[in-house]
Amino acid sequence: MSGRWLLAGLLALLLIGIGAGCARVSGPAVTLDRSVSIDGKSGLLETFRAYWALRTKGDADGAFRLEAPYAQEMVPMQRYRNYIRLFHGARLVNVEIYGVDSSEAFFSTCLDCRAVYEGKGGGEQRDFRDCWVEVDGSWYHVLNNPLIFPQSGDI
């Protein structure tokens, strides 16, 4: 009898493991340039990875939860979904972080990144600056597109 329970327990653990594996979002590979260190920014790299994985997957609702809380209040969800869809066409395969610019006073960090997209006409690179703010121990992405989200800008 106890053997059956043990077997059932092992099966349950296996199923949970498979479920957790499936729940993980696969995303672009994130690499850090040798000159770059983001030590002391606990959780930033993990959140960065998760965010870009969600963006790559086209998961607007998931990515929206990682946008800074003020943006979650000021940006209409439908506009955000359209924005994510806009960038979902090309597949982001790799992001290399080659620069870090932090502000201790504002608990913010901007990462200079080089993205590699996989498209029909071969790979394409694009450099961009991705900024993050820390609030209550968690990192949030800063939406920085005044053309698409003018409402999240000036006071």
Partner: protein, 175 residues
Amino acid sequence: MMVRPFVVVFLMVVLGGVGPALAGVVAKGEGVIVTTEDMAAMEKASPPFFTPTRKALIEATVRTLLFAKEAEARDVPCEGSLGKQGFDRAMALSRCYLKERLDQVGLKQGAVVSYYRAHEKMFLDKNGDPVPLDERLREIIRARILRAKAPIFARSEYRRLVNKYKVTICPEDGC
């Protein structure tokens, strides 16, 4: 000859259910009737040089009347509505309702702080030092976020009330 009361009621129900009684109705729901007269009042109150589509105008009118209805149901204090009648009163109540609900819902935790931290250049003084996030600045940022949130919240609240009162918008030839 005396007409029996039930005949009168029957005629009222049958005739009341067709054409003329609902002429001028642009939307209806449970305890809600929106007329072309309301729509005209809404259009008059719209900003100049702004020509909304029929659908947008009806939705704005329905929203105003639904918010006003809720304001009354919840006894929302509204000094702006005092002494006003008809659609003007509904507009004042609607504004009070939205303000009250926004205050109740508030902002997500971290909204003000994250705005401040994400807009560093905006909050540096002339020497390049950070302007401290004091109560006054918090209030300014809070008001800025609420200003952007208001139309988003109003849309979701409108959808909620349309469902609550089962409001349907009539086709152009009437309900």
